[in-house]
Subunit: 282 residues, 2 copies
């Protein structure tokens, strides 16, 4: 897997992801809270961008947050300690070979993870085995296809397409948000419910312009500039024009809109789990 | 203005628009209700697709609903009468030369209208004159750029692009949703607030699959098939493949997503109204 583009693995991305978590927390986490005493597994926690929000919103639940990157886990653990949170354990682990007993968690939380995986259904099925019957799954992913810019710019679309293409070449899928329903169904979960959650920024919402358009989305696209140029997907001049067109949307007469998708589902109580998914793998 | 593509003017579109109104009513009208005794002007009511919902949600407000098409107004009036609603007056009028006294309304409601107008800021400014200072404006528009299909199909995107191009050639803008903030600001309104409202359909939401994906969106695209072919924008075979790909999103492992934008604003109480808009015309 080519890590060059992967947001979250690079140390310099750490600040960006924390800005993102702060701005997006209310949008993404609304509706997510876990009962006292429940055991929650956060898969692919990265540097802990969502971990602090999760743990603060459910102070009496017990979180186990893991990531495949030891460096990311170390940063997540540092932040958890710095925040004084005592209800989170961070550890390094592989999503496809998780070191946990079957059915040892009450809930699963998976945010901005499936987009990086070549076989997301396999990963979800591996996670399902760790969940007790009746336990819940929550998945949040974005979908770059839902990006709306005003003014619209051809080069802005091109640099977004660069990110999509680099992620595809690395085995991921930056357009995965729209696919959550069939993917989660195919992994043997039931009662799958998907909600779009929209990040929208214009001059009446300066916090979104700064925290989302600038510090989250444009920062992410800036982060793939060198990789996109090295891969021959854009010239330096064209890429910079694209960034300029994205920044243009943050002026007083601009707007920027992006769609996240939040899914919830349940591990069926009995019967052959795969039979409960109405869909084949997408 | 070329009427061939314009949804709402054709008699055969009447059923489609009523289906759309029923499915979308909760999504689009949530938050819109007018106090008893208030005078509300609905500009561009068409065949009354939104009128019945408006009048039912605010039974003690007085609605004046107008459209430039006498045939559409007749149909709207018939529906209002059929529904037994006594708080709506329907009449034929031109948005740019409205036959009403200045400041004679407390509120304005404008849904799926600006998308058809070559000069939406001018239309909004003409409507603003009819509104009392402190009165409210509500605008709802879609944005075809925010359409997400799964499975994604190249030809599906092409037929959507046909609709966008035909509407552009007729002087309209099917991508106007993202522009509401600057347009409304430029027309001299204040306190402009825009919210995206998302129509999302998958197999867990059969009402949306049927009422929105099939009966609203695909029906709209089907409605421009002949015009698109006549304009040389697509071959019959390619257009039909596009429709097939759109229908494919309604199968059990598909999904379909579309963004509407709902804006509210206020007519400033005093001072040169245009100076209160922070933006230039978009």
């Amino acid at each position: 897997m080519n890590d060059a583009y992967i947001h979250g693995y690079l140390a310099r991305e750490s600040t960006r992801l924390q800005d993102q978590a702060d701005t997006l927390a209310a949008l993404l986490h609304e509706g997510t809270a876990y009962p006292p005493g429940s055991r929650v597994l956060e898969a692919g926690c990265g540097v802990g961008a969502q971990t602090l929000t999760l743990a603060r919103r459910s102070p009496d639940a017990h979180f186990t947050s893991f990531d495949i990157s030891a460096a990311s886990v170390a940063e997540a653990a540092r932040r958890v300690a710095e925040a004084g949170l005592l209800n989170v354990q961070c550890l390094q682990a592989d999503l496809l070979a998780p070191p946990f007993a079957a059915e040892s968690f009450d809930h699963l939380f998976v945010c901005f993870v499936l987009e990086h995986l070549p076989r997301p259904v396999e990963a979800l099925a591996a996670l399902r085995r760790l969940l007790r019957p009746g336990g819940s799954l929550t998945v949040i992913e974005g979908d770059h296809g839902a990006t709306l810019c005003h003014p619209a710019g051809v080069q802005a679309q091109c640099v977004i397409d660069c990110q999509v293409e680099l992620q595809r070449r690395a085995g991921g899928n930056a357009l995965i948000g729209r696919q959550l329903y069939p993917l989660i169904s195919a992994a043997g979960f039931a009662a799958v419910q998907v909600q779009p959650r929209i990040a929208y920024a214009d001059a009446s919402r300066p916090g979104w312009v700064d925290g989302f358009t600038h510090k989250t989305f444009i920062a992410m696209i800036e982060g793939v500039r060198d990789a996109a140029i090295a891969a021959g997907l854009a010239t330096p001049a064209d890429f910079d024009t694209g960034l300029q067109q994205l920044r243009r949307t943050t002026e007083p007469d601009g707007s920027f809109c992006y769609s996240f998708f939040k899914a919830t589902a349940i591990k069926p109580l009995a019967g052959p789990a795969h039979a409960t998914g109405p869909c084949r793998a997408g």
